[in-house]
Amino acid sequence: MRGVLGFLAPKLLRALVAVWLVTTVVFVVMRLSGDPVPLLLPPDAPTSEMERVRRELGLDRPLPVQYLTFVGNALRGDFGRSIHFREPAWSVVVRYLPATLELGLTSFGLALVVAVPIGMLSAIKRNSPIDQAAMGVALVGQSAPTFFLGIFFILTLSLWAGWFPTSGRGSWQHLMLPAITLGAFSMASIARLTRSAVLDVLRQDFVRTARAKGLPELTVVMKHTFKNAALPVVTITGLHFGTLLGGAVVTETVFAWPGIGRLAIQSIYNRDYPIVQCTVFLSAILFIVLNFAIDLLYGVLDPRVRPR
């Protein structure tokens, strides 16, 4: 039991520090602009109304008290009322969350299903035309800006080819282009990483032994190589969850996908700051929790990092 705690404690500590930093940054950023009240009210609000809101929000109290109140409220999911939707910011954001999760999980699954076999094939057929083509595409996919990739897909596959709708949510056709756009970066990096991980393992002695004793190549690759190559892939895959969450802002805006990323951008235009704060906070928490889970999974997969 003590061993497990020793393994978990630093990770948990790091996750908690991250949560604290996020909360503090959100607080500081709101105060950076000076008085947040004019931001929260319509520009033509009378002074008496401003005073009332200031008291209501506790802005007349000393800064440390305000900070603690803010942290307390944030941890309870209370970010105030949305100006645009006229209801608590939290319930608005939670309503938009499923669309983002649907998009994120689909693109993540797509990235894995496409990238891992391609990476393995590339490694096995090293320096063949297949390998070079696949890695060339991956290199481009890795440096292509997400927003332009989305625009490019809309232009070529929606408008010119007419295969997919340009925007919105509904059928699986609506889901395809945003999912590919959002997953492109992960797909490219996972394919390249899988290739190099498999190549690394193929150079090991035990693979030579497996081949020397006459095992068919397929068995060598599937049984001896794949499991060993999976570790670095899992690690990087975990990191990509974060990229996906951040990328959702861009992808959802390009494809008018009704998730929290697009909500955040629209709320900025509407000056609806409770919503902005709430989305930033929620995404950060989500990301930190996921990363924590991946860290644990890594410990399960690799006995070497497990406590004795």
């Binding site: 790091r14 996750a15 520090v17 991250a18 930093l21 996020v22 940054v25 950023v29 950076l32 602009s33 931001l39 090293r126 320096n127 290199l139 890795q142 440096s143 292509a144 800006p145 997400t146 927003f147 332009f148 625009i151 490019f152 809309i154 232009l155 408008l159 990096s189 390249r192 990483l193 290739r195 190099s196 690394d200 690690t235 990087i236 990191l239 974060g242 990229t243 969450l245 951040g246 990328g247 802002v249 861009v250 805006t253 390009v254 955040a264 951008i265 900025i268 235009y269 700051y273 902005v276 704060q277 930033v280 995404s283 950060a284 990301f287 930190i288 990363n291 991946i294 860290d295 890594y298």
Partner: protein
């Protein structure tokens, strides 16, 4: 552990490229590609500097009668519009050329901000060790554990978009990469004999760091800065695309892609050309960075 991998150094380029780099036709092609990339970056810098003389037309001049003109060598007004004209009749090629200025100036300024902060904190963490080191690295880990674009959006939403805000936000979002790489190198350098010798002779910490440690870090710094430049350019374009970066009518590639979005059906060229130039730029800069890493500092590969 998941978060101990520097975000800017793609771990996947490691062993995979070693065999190809070692001679044969593959190596020659790699070298030629890298050369092409580096030349492209150089051409882009020159283009940004010489934009006023190079651009065939004023990037801001609107010609409402020549709106949404196809790419052509001889338009109705007798001028060539190689990349066509946009919804206000402005020449897209001229705007792409001026856009290089915006892109590169934000990129280089952000790299400077992030590099100075990251290098200072990285050297401090590596040289001092102990509590200073743990504090800096905990913050770095926490920042890595956070989708940066959200942070950028939150800050810019409140402060309002402007050139300095953009540079500071993009710069600050990149300091961790420098800090991590330099910290580990300083830790190694600090335990070398020549540092002991200088300290024994009474050299101050500042002298050791500035005269003897920093020069040893320059090549790593160049590598990280190049990779960060690619990231900064993309982030600038993305934020501008979202309306949180450079504001119209200033020609930025991100703004141009955004402006052309509504006209994709009738005038594909407005978004496509700036987008393609951005894509090639990012590819060229990051490939140059990867190559510099392999040339100057092979030890960074294993990071």
């Amino acid at each position: 552990m998941a978060s101990s991998i520097p975000a800017s150094v793609p771990a996947d380029t490691l062993a995979a490229e070693a065999p190809a780099a070692r001679g044969g036709a593959g190596a020659r092609r790699t070298r030629r590609l890298v050369l092409a990339g580096a030349l492209f970056v150089l051409a882009l810098v020159l283009m940004a500097i010489a934009a006023p003389w190079l651009a065939p037309q004023d990037p801001l001049r609107q010609t409402l009668r020549g709106r949404l003109g196809k790419p052509t060598l001889a338009a109705a007004d007798g001028k060539a519009h190689l990349f066509g004209t946009d919804h206000l009749g402005r020449d897209v090629l001229s705007r792409v050329i001026w856009g290089a200025r915006v892109s590169l100036s934000v990129g280089f300024a952000a790299v400077l901000v992030g590099g100075l902060l990251g290098a200072a904190l990285g050297i401090a963490a590596g040289y001092r060790g102990g509590l200073v080191d743990s504090a800096i690295m905990t913050v770095a880990d926490a920042q890595l554990a956070f989708p940066l674009i959200l942070l950028a959006i939150g800050i810019i939403a409140v402060l309002g978009p402007s050139f300095p805000t953009l540079v500071v936000v993009i710069g600050l979002s990149g300091w961790v990469s420098y800090a991590r790489v330099l910290r580990s190198q300083v830790m190694v350098l600090r335990s070398r004999e020549f540092v002991d010798a200088i300290q024994a002779l009474g050299g101050s910490a500042a002298r050791v760091i500035l005269r003897h440690i920093v020069p040893n870090l320059l090549s790593s710094l160049v590598v990280v800065a190049t990779l960060e430049l690619a990231r900064a350019i993309i982030l600038e374009a993305t934020l501008s695309f979202l309306g949180l970066g450079i504001q119209p009518p200033t020609p930025s590639w991100g703004v141009m892609v955004q402006e052309g979005r509504e006209y994709l059906d009738s005038a594909w060229w407005i978004s496509t050309f700036p987008g393609l130039v951005l894509m090639v730029t990012s590819l060229a800069v990051s490939r140059t960075g990867d190559w510099l890493r392999d040339m100057l500092d092979p030890t960074l590969r294993g990071e």
